[in-house]
Amino acid sequence: MSKFEALTGNAAVSNAMRQINPDVVAAYPITPQTDTVQTFSEFVADGLVDTEFVTVESEHSAMSACVGASAAGARVMTATSANGLALMWEIIYIAASNRCPIVMSLVNRALSAPINIHCDHSDVMGMRDSGWIILMSENGQEAYDNIIQAIRIGEHPDVLLPVAVCQDGFITSHSLERVELFEDGEVQDFVGTHEPQWPLLDVEDPKTYGPLDFYDYYYEHKRQQVEAMEKAHGVIREVTQEFNDRFGREYGLFEAYRMDDAEVAVIAANSTAGTAKTAVDNLRDQGLKAGLLKLRVFRPFPGQELAEALRGVSAVAVMDRAISFGSMDNAGPLFSEVVSALTLNDVHVPIADYVYGLGGRDIRPGEIENVYQEAFQMAENGKVERRVRYLGVRE
């Protein structure tokens, strides 16, 4: 029997980590992730897990230790935010390239400068090309559910890639919500045991990890990473299906909320998707056909499925909690992805980008309702007035 508890998003993740019982966790404190590993260290201190908790002296060393432990043959987890992720950067790429299925709880926070501890997605968007699988979570429950699935996805022999599970700093990481915790045994049964294929610790059959790789092989190894990412697409669907069947969920690559007869759609990720659902409901009450696509899998990007889900709507608005400085129209990174997906799948529809919530700036249902209103106008006029807007900023 599962049980329901009032937990913060961070505590939900800590509990998932306790139930997964990884061999090694290496992490460093950084707001707003800190209490994930703080709570987890209590589990270690109380003997509730078998984990070696490596209390490293920096995030760079955290990810370095994770790579070492994963190559050694261990099941490995970590957690970080913003500048911590930025300090890991070099090793983020190495973790993916060495095919280390590390699972990270990434509590999204704005990158410095100016220094800010609150939520935006500048941290995760920076790692989008690093070779990590990236899952997004609307709330603590989804972060918990995604973390459990991430283990299976990353360690799948066809994949062997690290997975980052995102949730919004403070907004969900520190909010108490009703979270369903599955039985420890059920989670352990779902994640199973880690079966490393080439453990470094096999001293009878020595392996060389991380050799020098020049123009004669490097390219092929990068091509293999592409293949792993392509296969991850299918593996995510399989694992998600199994999770849904076992635990009574309805996850997909994304969630289509009231999309069936929608005339306009907003695309959003993480907690803002929850706020947007309220906006959709309010508009539906007024008889307006609004729908929402909540992104769950950001990497590998489900472009084709997303385009199919949007085929038939008359306008699309993308909500971006980050800016890709110097990109076309200084839009957000999600916008570029969605535009490419639609164009290449022959879905031609007016589309605009809404940058919002940087550095933790609040986003309210009313503002999202305005986004929908402008989308309805785009639909009616058949054209885009302004490609990129910055919601709630003082100009």
Partner: protein, 311 residues
Amino acid sequence: MVTKLTPKELAKKEERLAPGHRLCAGCGAAIVVRQMLAAIDEPVVLANATGCLEVATTIYPYSSWRVPWIHNAFENAASTMSGVEAAYRSMVRQGKLEEKDVKFIAYGGDGGTYDIGIQALSGAVERGHQFLYVCYDNGAYMNTGIQRSSATPFGAHTTTSPAGKVIPGKQQFRKDLTKVMAAHDIPYVAQAAPSKWRDLMQKTRKAVNCGGPAFMNVLASCNRGWRHETDETIEVTQLAVDSCFWPLYEVENGEWSLTYKPRKKVPVKKWLERQGRFSHLFRDENRHMIDEMQEEVDRRWEKLLERCGEG
């Protein structure tokens, strides 16, 4: 049976670093690694910082390592090894892995250790991981083409501390990393050189059996950077030892002791004159630097004697 440290017995052991690697002829690093690994009878797992030793031994699809080996990046051999060692302890404790008295050793050059890797090293030994970190110190960033590091000796010409018309080589004395590591109060810290091979091998054995983190700083000549003939490695190295530029000592559970005291201390000039990187110091206008270096070497040597109870 522990292998006796005699050439006859050691010659019977299989080389753990296989021949065919592409380190330069006379490279000190290869000699150091082969001597150290020959001293250990137990299974080993190695981590390697980016550097000559890494690039020249693992050119994909080849590897010279007959033992498990991992390279991650430049500054993180110590933190990578903390992960490997933590994984070992965790999995052995859980019964997922058979305990085999594995010895964990991380290798880094002086750039990867004194400079960019010092934070990761300091953290890893403070946490008490049971591993030996070995710095093979050739006194510059040799892999990238002989740039100065904080281990580069005073006065040396490197490509970023060139002997110019106004500035004659490196202007600072080297960081004493061995003492920095001794200040961590870990069970074992030592300084060694391959010219005293039995001393190096005995220290290696002590280090991997000390029951906690250990650090060894081993002088490893690079003839490309030091500018001497490829067959002079051991001779030039021994001059560094006999001039007391590179004293051989150990700090065992806080107890300092010299493991070799030159019968007759050789002037540091004798070591300098054998290397092209110091040739500009022998010009009239720069000779004062040789005196300054001698003074500094003497000062550090006297202090060390005092610490070792030989003052």
